[in-house]
Symmetry: C2
Subunit: 135 residues, 2 copies
């Protein structure tokens, strides 16, 4: 992270270091406020505005990913390509390994004149525990 920040003329601050460290530790796809709470444990003076600003900076640099979950943003520090399943009952977000989806043929799109930069594949359904409760 430090090299990437410095490479773009931006500064390595304690707030950014702690934020990314905490996000990478969390496996729950936290919201901005949840990240704020986690970071505040180490930096009691940090503000929510700084969290939002730095989430934006780190997202632009590709150091984290933002998920759109029912109108609010959640964040993911795991950069290895994978998908998500959001439970429509408890709203928890689960990781789905990319290998479950085969033959995503990206090249075809480029032939239509689009410059393809990224993609997101999201599933919606019931997680095993909610599925049990439903019945």
């Amino acid at each position: 992270m430090e090299q990437i920040l410095r490479g773009t003329g931006q500064r390595v601050t304690r707030q950014r270091q702690v934020l990314l460290t905490e996000l990478r530790r969390m496996v729950t796809h936290p919201t901005a406020k949840e990240i704020y709470e986690a970071v505040r444990y180490h930096l009691p003076q940090i503000s929510l505005g700084t969290v939002y600003r730095n989430l934006g900076v780190l997202e632009d640099l590709g150091l984290l990913r933002r998920l759109e979950c029912g109108g609010i943003s959640r964040y993911d520090g795991d950069l290895h390509r994978h998908f998500h399943l959001q439970c429509v009952d408890c709203n928890q977000v689960y990781d789905i390994d990319q290998s479950l989806v085969q033959n995503l043929n990206m090249d075809l799109l480029k032939s239509q004149g689009f410059e393809l930069l990224d993609y997101k594949l999201d599933f919606y359904g019931l997680c095993p525990s909610c599925k049990k409760t439903e019945s």
Copy 2:
């Protein structure tokens, strides 16, 4: 639409009829406010609150789909299965035919205990016109 509404004990109002008709006519994946403007042309007294309420109702009934685009919702009246490409430059949303993505193997997920209800595949990149301007 009328049968589906009545089937769930809900009423067929002029607001709902015009809203869905207008949305189906629009090919631009409009926001709630854009839909409000279009509908207001026919129903000058309609309120934005009613538009939001009815977008929710019609979405729950599966009569339209909601897209999450950079923190705000856009709506799609085209129910045939297709994907979207959002231009990261002009933010326009383009339709991508499902046939461009082959072998999306949904069955594998179910074997892990999830009840799979829906999925969304979204691409991000540059549309042909923005791609030209960039270079």
